[in-house]
């Protein structure tokens, strides 16, 4: 198992390098000259050249890339243009909040998806099973921001059951209960579409497994219905892990929009504000941090997959 993790991490390294290259390229294609905005309109050519040299912008791209990587690894993400504070502090506190939201969304997606999928699989010849199945099909296509808006209208504006946004009470307090209260709706909004995907895949995987030869063999061994279902469920886990790997990106991406609508202080909000103020260092840092988190989460998921399924370990 240790070898599997080591190998998986090794594979992640070129991916991470690729990710940094893509982010670096997006920096380079940003229109406008950073020097003129930094040095001011009426700066002399000499000061500009000096500044260009000091920032290393006269170096070839590969050199610039390595310099950028070096400072990034050391935690230097630059200074936010609009706030004039180091980007690092902004990004990492936001990253934590986004992870909380994405995790809660994942809980909604998996618990809801498994229940919905189980229902539609076990009752697939009945009306209610069909309804469950249809629900998951519709949920799959529901944009997370549309869901967020519906929840806002129904459960915040029309019936003020849940708080409208933020993470804690207006005074900034409230602790864990307040956090949960603020988390419910955004988590549902983030998790609903992945829930539909998981329900569909869990349903087809469970039906597939139940039709496999070994299930009938388990019954022939005299195992009870519950035991057989436990074996079957166990055998759906590999496909659930596969889909988890695919859905993490959707959870993180969806969180960006949901955060804006629910004023959740995460990376999505930060990106939104940065876009409107053209705060490029912040956009880059957010992209980089989210992409790296995505790659690392996939390592974790693959490890879990390998723990479940001995066949993947080789």
């Amino acid at each position: 198992m240790g070898r599997f993790i080591a190998r998986r991490l090794l594979i992640a390294i070129p991916t991470l390098i690729g990710v940094t290259i893509v982010v670096f390229i997006t920096i380079k294609i940003i229109p406008g000259n950073p020097i003129s905005s930094l040095a001011g309109m009426n700066s002399t050519a000499a000061t500009r050249a000096a500044l260009t040299h000091r920032l290393g912008l006269d170096q070839p791209w590969p050199v610039q890339y390595f310099d950028w990587i070096k400072s990034t690894v050391q935690g230097d993400f630059g200074i936010s243009i609009s706030r004039q504070t180091p980007v690092r502090a902004l990004v990492f506190s936001a990253l934590g909040n986004t992870m909380i939201l994405a995790f809660a969304g994942a809980v909604v997606a998996f618990v809801g998806g498994i229940l919905l999928g189980l229902w539609s699989a076990l009752r697939r010849n009945h009306v209610d099973g069909g309804v469950a199945s249809g629900t998951s099909v519709v949920a799959v296509a529901a944009p997370q921001y549309s869901v967020a808006l519906v929840l806002l209208v129904v459960l915040v504006v029309d019936n003020p059951i849940f708080p409208s946004g933020g993470m804690y009470n207006a005074t900034g307090g409230g602790g864990f209960p307040a956090l949960l209260d603020h988390l419910v709706l955004p988590a549902i909004a983030v998790g609903l579409a992945p829930m539909g995907v998981i329900a569909r895949i869990f349903r087809s995987s469970l039906i597939d497994v139940m039709n496999q030869e070994f299930v009938s063999s388990l019954r022939a061994r005299g195992l009870s219905k519950g035991s057989v279902l436990r074996h079957a469920f166990h055998n759906t886990l590999p496909s659930l892990f596969t889909v988890a790997g695919l859905q993490i990106g959707f959870l993180l991406g969806g969180a960006i929009f949901v955060e804006i609508l629910f004023t959740w202080p995460g990376l999505g909000q930060l990106i939104f504000q940065a876009i409107s103020s053209r705060d490029y260092p912040v956009i880059e840092a957010c992209s980089l941090v989210l992409a790296v988190a995505f790659v690392l989460l996939n390592v974790v998921i693959d490890t879990g997959h390998a723990l479940i399924d001995p066949r993947v370990r080789q």
Binding site: Q212, E213, F214, S216, S217, L218, R219, A220, R221, G222, L223, S224, K225, S227, H231, H234, N235, L237, P238, I308, D309, P310, R311
Partner: protein, 373 residues
């Protein structure tokens, strides 16, 4: 076990009956043997698969008995209903499949048990060795834990440790070279032959009275096949189990059978002692099966395939004899009157009134004989 005593007393067959030009029908089920510990008796079993469009009668009323310590081979081509019969007896089909008839194991009526009682009987009193060795083990669980699960489920072993030890013993018993290692293996780490042995170990874990083996060697190499068959014979001797062996392979039947029941299109066409049925068949279909199998004596080029194709499951015409369309002996009556099993010898029945208990040795090449392979 009363291996020497014939429980299945042959009915008294008079010479007159045998020589009668139109043998009277042998109606109804044969006299049921006295319920004996370990005997599986199946009477008039019929299995119907229903879908929205139609109903398929895969098995149309068959009866057989598996005695303790003996082997009954259910022989037939694919689609004849042999596997379905075996699985239906173990009640492995869902409620969507209609099963009628009677099956008793040591006097217990299997079709009368509630599902819970049936569950605890499966794997304990009657166990299955499935056909597909690679697909029949849970791929995500170690072999040892799957054996231990059965042992604990049926109360053979209680402790976790004891069950694991017993699992290793069982794997040794079925001839797996390094049982301590196999216990810790996942199914995909074992070869096909080893997987089949592991499945046999699971099946014999609770020393069942009857073992149902559904084409247990079909997927294996010939050498492994022989080893597995030897293993069955040895285990049967050691444990005194009855064995219901489902196969399409005449060679396997020859090697294993005490008795053979030949199935065609959901019905038994012949049943009798292995040597008799496979030596002097009393039904044209059995004779055809045998002629299609090479033996050292078969002259080159003399192998004959049965002309035509067996009907797809449930497609058989149910008036007359299902085999009639392919039968060189068929007369008009075969297409209108369904033949019943009639006694043709000592504990030997066949469902063909035309050949009269003995398929003539000289069978001229049939019109479609050119297909012979």
């Amino acid at each position: 076990m009363t291996t020497a005593t014939r429980i299945h007393t042959p009915p008294d067959i008079s010479e007159a009956l045998l020589e009668a030009p139109h043998p009277s029908r042998f109606r109804g089920s044969r006299p049921a043997p006295a319920p004996t510990e370990g005997t599986l008796t199946v009477e008039d079993l019929a299995v119907t698969f229903r879908s929205k469009r139609k109903a398929v009668e895969a098995v149309r009323g068959i009866s057989f008995t598996v005695e303790a310590g003996k082997t009954l081979v259910l022989l037939g081509e694919s689609g004849s209903g042999k596997s379905v019969s075996a699985r239906a007896v173990m009640r492995l089909y869902s409620e969507a499949v209609t099963i009628t008839g009677r099956a008793t194991l040591g006097g217990v009526d299997l079709f009368d048990l509630d599902e819970r009682a049936m569950q605890s009987l499966r794997g304990r009193d009657m166990a299955l060795v499935p056909q597909d060795a690679s697909g029949s083990l849970d791929p995500l669980r170690r072999v040892g834990s799957q054996i231990a699960e059965v042992l604990r489920r049926h109360g053979v072993e209680h402790g976790r440790k004891a069950a694991r030890q017993r699992a290793a013993d069982l794997l040794g018993q079925v001839g797996i070279p390094d049982p301590a290692r196999a216990v810790r293996s996942y199914p995909h780490e074992l070869s096909g032959g080893m997987r089949q042995r592991a499945l046999i170990a699971i099946a014999i874990a609770c020393e069942p009275k009857v073992l149902v083996a559904d084409e247990p060697t079909t997927a294996l190499d010939v050498t492994i096949q022989a080893q597995v068959l030897d293993l069955f014979a040895k285990l049967q001797e050691d444990l005194g189990m009855g064995l219901l062996l489902v196969t399409h392979d005449v060679g396997v039947a020859r090697q294993m059978a005490d008795r053979v029941a030949v199935m065609y299109a959901g019905r038994l066409v012949e049943e009798g002692p292995g040597t008799t049925v496979l030596g002097e068949p009393a039904h044209p279909y059995t004779a055809g099966l045998l002629r299609a199998v090479p033996t050292p004596e078969t002259p080159r080029g003399q192998l004959q395939a049965i002309p035509g194709q067996p009907p797809a499951a449930g497609e058989a015409v149910d008036t007359g004899c299902s085999f009639a369309p392919r039968c060189v002996f068929a007369v008009e009556e075969c297409r209108t009157d369904r033949p019943d099993l009639v006694p043709v010898g000592t504990a030997h029945w066949a469902a063909c009134p035309v050949v009269n208990g003995r398929v003539p040795v000289e069978v001229g090449p049939s019109p479609a004989g050119a297909e012979a392979s």
